[in-house]
């Protein structure tokens, strides 16, 4: 008996080590367009297809964000294709589903690199995945523009391929900390993260600024993305009785579930989250009123309120039947910048050269985006300038309560 159970447990431990929480989904690749007949006419024409790698969590826990991501990318590419594509060929999207898992992200990146017609990558969505694809893309000089990876360290590793169209958590963190202390008058703060690169990084930034502001009552806790029962944690929070409960959680569904349990335990603290929770479906509708009055920060404006984005919002709604989701506008902007870059790079022997695209994208200056701000990349690939916005949940929507402009880093 002793031996039997022991051997079974040994087998079990070995198995659980190799059964991942979710199995990788094969990459969905669009079939290459049939080679168009050569037409030796005026403008230069590409010899082969031109492909853009789009990487994000298209399945799994963050699938809702991933779908918004993909929708916005398709919208941008289709607009270009309607105008004739680039160099006489239609632009194709190669989908790479990374499920926000760094290991899966690396496989996706290898796939992009090994296809010579992929000349640029949009994504990944999460900081953890971005961190793992960067060294792979760097080797192939394949440019990357992430719409939403906010971890500050990503830009500090010397990778030339790295670019982002969002401010970083080195700005978002202090903005959040300043907001809760100066605007909400917080004296004590609990911080919960989900152990992801993004959440831990943002938590660190917030904690640092809070300490600089003289807040001493700070408690930090972690959950995992699989957790569903937060009662023990929230009971601790209730005992701490902080003014503010930061929930740096990537998935708004999970943050909403936490909010519901927080309500059922009678925890007084005001919930505050980062950019990942700027999601109406998950954080407001999914929470069934439990997030009323909560605050979230976001790395861009309420896209519905930006005049330049009107056309984008209408087109998105009519095509996909819903408002553009969390990072949709950022994705659309990133894709347009990449395509402008490819256009600027020109052809070499009928081919688009990855290095030329990288240089053209890196040189982007004052690109007029639908985010309402001109986009220029810094030497490190960060967005120069940018604004962090604060929103509060009121009824069924986010209401902007503050905006903080950031200096370029």
């Amino acid at each position: 008996m002793r031996l039997k159970i022991a051997s079974i447990v040994a087998a079990l431990v070995a198995l659980s080590a190799c059964v991942p929480a979710a199995t990788p989904t094969p990459l969905a690749t669009q079939s290459p367009a049939t080679a168009s007949s050569p037409a030796p006419t005026q403008p230069p024409k590409a010899a082969g297809p031109i492909k853009i790698g789009v990487e994000g969590p298209f399945s799994g826990q963050l699938a809702t964000y991933g779908q918004d991501f993909l929708n916005a990318a398709k919208l941008a590419v289709d607009e270009w294709n309607k105008k004739g594509g680039l160099y006489g060929v239609q632009i194709e999207i190669v989908e790479g589903d990374d499920q926000a898992d760094p290991a899966q992200a690396a496989r996706v990146a290898e796939k992009f690199v090994s296809d010579p017609s992929v000349v640029g990558v949009i994504g990944p969505m999460t900081s953890g995945a971005t961190n793992s694809v960067l060294p792979i893309l760097e080797r192939a000089s394949l440019v990357l523009i992430t719409p939403s990876a906010t971890n500050p360290d990503l830009a500090k590793k010397g990778f030339k391929t790295f670019h982002r169209v969002c401010p970083t958590d080195a700005d978002q963190g202090p903005a959040l900390a300043n907001f809760v202390v100066k605007d909400l008058g917080a004296k004590s703060v609990d911080i919960v993260d989900d152990k992801s690169t993004y959440a831990v990084g943002l938590g660190d930034q917030v904690e640092k600024t809070l300490k600089d502001l003289g807040i001493t009552k700070i408690q930090r806790y972690s959950i995992t993305p699989e957790d569903k029962d937060f009662s023990a944690l929230l009971t601790k929070v209730k005992a701490d009785d902080p003014d503010i409960l930061f929930t740096f959680i990537t998935s708004s569904d999970q943050a909403a579930a936490l909010a519901k349990q927080k309500r059922s335990l009678g925890v007084r603290a005001t919930q505050v989250g980062g950019d990942g929770l700027y999601d109406v479906r998950g954080f407001i509708q999914g929470a069934e009123g439990a997030t009323e009055g909560a605050y979230v920060s976001f790395i861009g404006p309420d896209i519905q309120s930006v005049p330049q984005a009107k056309e984008f919002v209408t087109a998105y709604k009519s095509r996909f039947g819903s408002d553009p989701g969390t990072f949709a506008a950022q994705t659309y902007v990133a894709l347009n910048i990449l395509l402008e870059g490819i256009k600027k790079a020109g052809l070499q022997d009928g081919k688009v050269d990855r290095k030329a695209v990288l240089e053209a994208v890196h040189g982007t200056k004052d690109y007029q985006s639908i985010l309402g701000i001109p986009i220029t990349f810094t030497q490190e690939g960060n967005l120069a300038g940018g604004t962090i916005f604060m929103f509060q949940v009121k009824g069924d929507r986010f209401v902007q309560v503050k905006s903080v402009s950031v200096g370029s880093k």
């Binding site: 002793r2 087998a11 699938a63 069934e288």
Partner: protein
């Protein structure tokens, strides 16, 4: 210190759920000496069935029937579907392997587990499902005793689990059928000679375990308000730990093990570290296997069921 009563409430709620799932593990192990690792996934399917019924009866944010009726329907549908899965699983995956080496049914269990998980993933997608519980169990339904909050869903979980566990305990210990189950667990061959249809008893054991898992799935989904297709894996491992903790094969042991594990996890999170919940649970499992493999209530040669 102020959090002790609340953590006690948390631990008991969690423990009842673990106990409910652990029973299925324990009964199947008691009778066949196999670990049915697909059991956690039966629980997951149960949660999805409950979600399906609730979503179907939720028209425009309003329940189509009184809350009690909706809850009863959720339980009934989930327990029926899970019971059938339990029967099918035993008949298709385990019965053909009954005389095979011990590793074969274990691998079959993992196969069934993956089949259930990915059937749900393919049919319903990999994105977690959010359960809108507010119309069924309004958050205002809760009592507050000196800072300790007990929501109605917790009372429901404890009440339903205790009721089901009590019913099972009665069934096994004081009915003819129960005697047949115990006899089969003790010595299958001898039971057969006594005229017991052991195949049917084994099927029944799987059925009973699966309907308890189904009930657990519904209760958990109302509490967690979020479902995903891999939730059965961890839940199954925890329930297995609970079953071993109590003495695998022992019904009252499984209940006690569940309760102990729930309490240890809650207090471990409160007083040791919030992020090492699973570490605490599995450390207990390992220590137990080294020092007391027969569990708290188990004897060296237990009369298993």
């Amino acid at each position: 210190m102020a959090q002790i009563p609340q953590q006690l409430v948390n631990g008991i709620t969690l423990g009842c759920i673990y106990g409910l799932i652990a029973l299925g593990y324990s009964m199947v192990y008691g009778i066949l000496e196999i670990l049915n690792f697909a059991h956690g996934d039966v629980f997951m399917v149960g949660a999805y069935v409950g979600w399906g019924v609730l979503s179907a009866l939720l028209v425009g944010g309003v329940l189509a029937a009184p809350a009690a009726v909706v809850f009863a329907l959720m339980m009934l549908a989930s327990m029926t579907v899970c019971g059938l899965i339990g029967l099918a699983m035993e008949y298709l995956a385990y019965r053909p392997l009954r005389s095979a080496p011990r590793l074969a049914p274990l691998l079959a269990a993992l196969g069934v587990s993956l089949i259930l998980e990915y059937a749900v993933a393919i049919l319903l997608g990999t994105k977690p499902k959010i359960i809108l519980v507010e119309p069924l169990l309004p958050s205002s339904l809760q009592v507050d005793i000196a800072g300790t909050t007990i929501s109605f869903v917790r009372i429901l979980i404890v009440a339903v689990s205790v009721l089901l566990m009590f019913a099972l305990d009665r069934l096994v210990n004081s009915t003819r059928l129960g005697r047949a189950i115990r006899a089969t667990a003790q010595d299958r061959e001898a039971a057969q000679y006594m005229g017991i249809n052991t195949d049917r008893i084994i099927s029944l054991t799987f059925f009973l375990g699966a309907i308890l898992a189904g009930a657990g799935g519904v209760l958990v989904s109302l509490f967690y308000t979020q479902l995903d297709f891999v939730m059965g894996w961890t839940a199954g491992l925890k329930a297995f730990t609970a079953a071993v903790l109590g003495g695998i094969g022992n019904i009252r042991g499984a209940m006690l093990g569940g309760l102990l594990l729930g309490l240890v996890e809650s207090f471990g999170m409160a007083f040791i570290s919030s992020s090492y919940r699973d570490v605490i649970a599995f450390a207990i499992l390992i220590l137990l296997l080294i020092f007391r493999p027969q569990g708290v209530l188990g004897e060296s040669l237990p009369e298993k069921v």
